[in-house]
Symmetry: none
Subunit: 128 residues, 4 copies
């Protein structure tokens, strides 16, 4: 479910964020589902609670989740989540760099398309 790789170059808190986003996209985490508490999550993943906390804070900032004092943390409704143009810009920049890298590694446009097809983004049911 959560594939955290402590040796990755990607910060652990970002890995947690991305994992939760991915579970959401795959409808494994649905609106108003309860997330594990910071401490539970931390021991599940064998990471420092601070790290989980940082991930949750960032997810809350992005309106992906919300917290209810004394009750816990929950997934937001899809409609709650605004388009974050800054993040979009960064993501497109990242896409651009990855494609340059892939072409350098011998890929052409069609092979890139094939890879994207493989990803199975669950777009059909998609987020609106």
């Amino acid at each position: 479910m959560f594939n955290i790789n402590i040796m990755s170059d990607k910060p652990i808190y970002e890995q947690i964020i991305d994992s939760i986003k991915e579970l959401s996209l795959k409808h494994i985490l649905k609106p108003d589902d309860k997330l594990p508490s910071v401490r539970q999550m931390a021991s599940m993943l064998s990471v420092n609670p601070n790290t989980v906390s940082k991930a949750y804070q960032e997810l809350e900032r992005q309106k992906i989740i919300y917290t209810v004092r004394g009750r816990g943390t929950f997934m937001s409704a899809y409609s709650e989540r605004p388009i974050d143009y800054e993040r979009l810009e960064k993501a497109l920049e990242g896409l651009r760099n990855i494609c340059v890298e892939l072409v350098h590694l011998g890929y052409d446009k069609n092979k890139i398309y094939e890879e994207i097809d493989k990803i199975q983004l669950g777009i059909e049911g998609g987020i609106k």
Copy 2:
């Protein structure tokens, strides 16, 4: 030519690396073309020579460029650049993450394809 953004979260030396890779893909930098010297590039970009040097060394490690002592730094032949499966693996992983992110931000598969088309990778003349 070189758009270096000192405020970006991406390290400057990586920006230089990516810029050179991109110029190569667009056939603006061709095999055996001479790159600006470390010092020239540094003053062009208003960065420290060490930073440029780090970028050049990494590019050389990746066989994108080669250096001739006392003469300068040059673009490698395309055929010199072997496929690095480890880098490929990481790039595909990155592609996957970016796509998940983009769908999260409201993109669907077709819009992603459109973005990739925009990049204009100079794939037509193709590598190799």
Copy 3:
């Protein structure tokens, strides 16, 4: 433990790399052992932290060590270290040159063998 000779023609960062490789071969540094932090090592050896950092980064690139962000740097498992055929090629070329040199300096094959025996590579317990 670490014999760094600042007057040597060999770069300090390479001396550090070689020292760590040697300590590994002698099983003084074992998998998952923690290395001194960049700063500790730097003050131990009376060199600049950047120099140690460069050595550690190269060792990481070679999969001899791995770093865990915020925690430190550790020896890799032997099995993590893939055979790098390019480095092997270079090393064999180097061996060839050294032997030619040694013969030139009056050594014969048996004396070279003796020298290699002296090195005590800890091959008995062997890698892998």
Copy 4:
């Protein structure tokens, strides 16, 4: 005969030195054989005459060759060549490092011995 690799990390002048030493070891260059002039050698190898000159100067310093004004440069008699302990020390240090590297790359002592056997140092007819 002379394999000069302009892209190698080894300085060109050292490559020339090693080539001449190797030709000597293989008795292709015998005592009192005439070497090409600096200019001839430079154009043969497509390198800067200064570079050849530097190689010849170093070889002369090591008593491997001698120059006769107006006549040219010649190989010394084997007996002329003193054992240079400083160089010997460096060579042994180099041997040690190469062996450590090779063991790191999966070699054991016997495989190293095999490699040395392959080199065919022409030791039988040997020097001295």
